[in-house]
């Protein structure tokens, strides 16, 4: 069988390097790489046994898995092990889609385009690696490989306070990833796993006593949680988003936050059931806090990007809640929500960027009534906002519906918190739309034109997916559902 995953990794790596050295033609190379990547991901889907139809049968283990010895010492067995299951497939698709959309959207980036596109590709390469890696070292390697390009993207192409933002981003996420690494190492050594492979850890860690499991889980939760980000370790996010260039914001919100969720599911929830169980109250508390905090803070934001950033905190809080429910339904909802949020927040950051490019400001009170000037952009803003506040027929609805159904099933009336917060979410999006899209024109420069084709195309890709999976969520959900949810006794 074709080593498809390694092939994708190699092609992405080669493409990334080529982009770095492609000079002014970098964007063409990047586009080609992204298109090839998307095609390869398509192949991956086609060859995945759980797709397209969910026939009730679970696909056990990991598909497309490859394993080669890497570092073998008497006390440390590290392999190059990769593989996908339904959960990672969804994230891989998200990676491919966002990469393509970002490359297209940033088409005319003229400040060191080679480095810019190279770093964008590198980020996506790292994310892809994180989603396929099934070995602690490999996982951590890719995890870090995401951090560095993002640091440079923010620090070099960012806004006026970019240095501060990049530093803050780096400190927070790096400290978290250190805690994560120690947690993962402790997971290996305390459980006595025979190797650093996921399967070995999975086999041995579940037999650990509840107390060490709890310690390990909390450490891992912190490590992954900062990426989520969980309140009160979230303040890096708004700053990073606001200062980052649009492309980086898209990847940051669309992919980097998902790394935390994916990592938590794969490396903590699935392998440490007792620890997870003991830590559930903590997760609930953090999730509810994040949901409320993110939403309430969104209300008070003037900067469009900051608003979207805080709403991300809110949405990721719902994801955390869904994970914390300890049910396969909740997990499915969490994964689906993350995909939805990836696409929608990507779209929202793109429109924020376009608003900035077109009107020279993202300050909500300073720009308004833009609809007659820029109908296409307004439509995109509307689609993004509506999807974000969970309107049916767009991707946010089925995802949130599943999450809330699962929450109700597990927690009962507690679901009223996230449900009630939906009203606040709707409030800040509607208020934003009222001020920016409608009303009399304010702060519109005379030369304002509707978005250029490439920005429109970039957003269009995401809109297409927003609608596609909003109308036909089964296409995606069946893939997730086909994976045996390993950590839960109910299945």
């Amino acid at each position: 069988m074709l080593p498809l995953l390694s092939l994708i990794l190699v092609s992405l790596a080669v493409g990334t390097v080529a982009t770095f050295f492609a000079g002014t033609r970098a964007r063409y190379v990047a586009l080609a790489v992204s298109a090839v990547f998307l095609a390869e991901v398509g192949l991956l889907f086609l060859s995945y046994p759980g797709w397209p139809g969910y026939n009730g049968a679970l696909v056990p283990g990991f598909a497309e898995s490859e394993s080669y010895p890497w570092i073998h010492l008497s006390w440390m067995q590290i392999n190059y092990t990769v593989g996908v299951d339904g959960i990672s497939l969804v994230f891989i698709l998200l990676t491919a889609v966002l990469q393509l959309a970002t490359v297209v959207y940033s088409w005319t980036e003229d400040r060191r385009p080679a480095a810019y596109f190279g770093l964008v590709l590198l980020t996506c390469f790292g994310c892809f690696g994180v989603f396929v890696a099934l070995d602690v070292l490999l996982f951590f390697l890719f995890w870090e490989a995401v951090l560095v390009p993002m640091f440079f993207l923010i620090g070099f192409w960012g806004g006026p306070r970019r240095r501060y933002a990049a530093l803050k981003f780096f400190v927070y996420t790096h400290v978290a990833s250190i805690v994560m690494l120690v947690g993962l190492l402790a997971l290996v050594f305390y459980s006595g796993a025979s190797s650093f492979d996921f399967s070995a850890i999975y086999a041995s860690a579940r037999t650990l006593a509840a107390v060490p499991q709890t310690f390990l889980f909390v450490a891992l939760f912190f490590g992954f949680g900062v990426k989520f980000p969980i309140v009160p370790f979230h303040t890096w996010l708004p700053d990073a988003h606001v200062e980052a260039p649009t492309g980086a914001s898209v990847l940051l919100a669309g992919l980097l936050l998902k790394l935390g969720g994916y990592g938590l599911i794969r490396w903590a929830v699935e392998v440490l059931p007792s620890g997870f169980h003991n830590a559930q109250p903590l997760l609930y508390a953090v999730a509810f806090l994040s949901i409320i905090w993110g939403s309430v803070l969104s209300l008070s934001q003037r900067d469009l990007k900051r608003l979207v950033a805080y709403s991300s905190i809110n949405h990721m809080g719902i994801v955390l809640l869904a994970i914390a429910l300890d049910s396969s339904l909740g997990l499915l909802a969490a994964v689906f929500l993350m995909f939805a949020h990836g696409v929608v927040s990507g779209l929202m950051f793109m429109v924020s960027g376009s608003v900035h490019h077109t009107f020279g400001t993202r300050d909500i009170p300073n720009v308004g009534g833009i609809t007659p000037t820029t109908p296409a952009l307004s439509t995109m803003i509307m689609v993004g906002s509506l999807a974000s506040l969970g309107l049916p027929a767009l991707i946010g609805f089925p995802a949130e519906f599943s999450a809330f159904l699962a929450t109700w099933n597990a927690l009962g009336y507690w679901v009223f918190i996230p449900l009630g917060i939906l009203v606040v979410t709707a409030a800040f999006y509607l208020w934003m739309m009222q001020r920016v899209l409608f009303g009399p024109a304010r702060g519109i420069p005379g030369d304002a034109r509707d978005v250029p084709w490439y920005e429109g195309a970039g957003m269009g890709i995401l809109v297409a997916f927003t609608v596609l999976f909003g109308v036909l969520p089964g296409l995606l959900v069946n893939v997730i559902a086909s994976s045996p949810v390993k950590g839960f006794p109910g299945t």
Binding site: I71, H72, W75, M76, V182, L185
Partner: protein, 531 residues
Amino acid sequence: MDLQSFAGPFVPEIVLLAATLLVFLLDVVRVRDNEIVGAVALGSVVLALLLVLADLGFAPLAVLATVPSSSIDASVTGAPLYSFTSLGLVFQGLFLLAALLVCLASLSRPKDERGAPIFYGLLLLATLGMVLVAIASDLIFLLLAIELVSVPTYLLVAYSRRDARALEAAMKFYIIGALSTTLSFFGASLLYGAYGTTNLHALATAEAAAGTAGYPVLVLLGYGFLIAGLAFKATLVPFHAWAVDVYDGAPTDVTAFLAGGSKKVGLFAFFLVFLAPILFVRTMASGSPFVTGSVAVGPVLQITLAFLAVVTMTLGNVLALLQKEMKRMLAYSSISQAGYMLIGIAVGTAPALAGATLQILAHVLMKTGAFLVVGAVAALGVGPLIDDYKGLGQKRPLLGVAFGLMLLSLAGVPLTVGFVSKFVLFSAAVQAKGYFVWLAVAGLLNSALSVFYYARVLKVLFFDVAEPRALATGAVVGGSEPEILPVGGLGYGRAAAIALVAVVVVVLGVYPQPVLGAIQNAAQHFVNLGG
């Protein structure tokens, strides 16, 4: 003539000694050409390295093996001064690697008024001392071997007699070094007084045998003096202050040798001196007013060393953050790296020793390479400040990339050897469980901190725009004659050394298995022997 039957197991040492003598002889006969003398030195170092590798069992070199495989890792009986352990041989290889890199780069040295033989002679002498350290199994032998490293390096720092900065550095180096030597010997005398032996293994055995009837205060004081004395060489905080000034003031190639080579001597000395008591001495009469009953010297040493490790890496990093000069920043980074390496002995398990050894190997490569680059860049007329490096990566992309790789490796970025070594080291600390997990956390947090100053240099290298005055390609500033060296002003030797480092840093970062496997086996044997 059969070398082996003539020299016994000491062939690498003999080769180095012979080369040293030959080099000084060349001075006498007034052959002072840098290339010729350098080639002799380089050749001897390469030959010694090959011999060591052969002794380690590197198959393609089997014909060169000088140490009978039966004597490697053989148990230590009686009270010999030396023993061939595979970890010792590994360290011989590391020391020779550092010497090799410096010799290689020095082939591109500008001519100087004193001629090459003195330089290479001292270098070889110090290398000989390092190689002897690696096989020491007697405390006094070890300390004298360290002195054989120290004394030539004092002179190497002071070698260009007119440079006031270098002489100031030599003065500090000498005073602090001599003081530390004194402390070491004083500590050794106390240990000798307690058990009547200076063999490291015998000392630990005697301590263990004495148990609660031993001399805890005397022994602990002895170890205390030894820690202080050896910490000078290993640049542990607060015994580090000399290192920054000396690294800064010394000629850059000498700095490369000091940071990359001789400093590791101190760390290996820690391995040799402290592993045995850590492994063996688990119980002893209390020497502490706080604790009644018996107390174990091994864990006490571990905690002390762990404390020193954390302090060293933290302060090294914090101070590196504030530096504006490239060499001083690298000096502090070198100090903090010593803290990581000390984790290995503080944890005291075979995996940890292996991790620390790999970290030392990585550091030999990265730090030697980095200082060689700094020397090369200085030769191109770039100033000593980090800001003077602006735009280097754009004007000299290959040099910039090589330097960048070394910095990334120092920062522990994946796919470089610096990452693998830290990963193995910290994994080992976690694997040892208990409070060592916190050592790993401290180490990792520190490596996070360290990223800042490396990233700043990277930013300066690649993102900042060069100032117009810098980078007159090939012009040797301050040299007696404007001499344009090949390879863009670097010279073949230096370029080769830098390239070698860059390549190895990446290769070992991607696939460390062969080297790491060998180190792991060596460390395991070392622990099995009991140090």
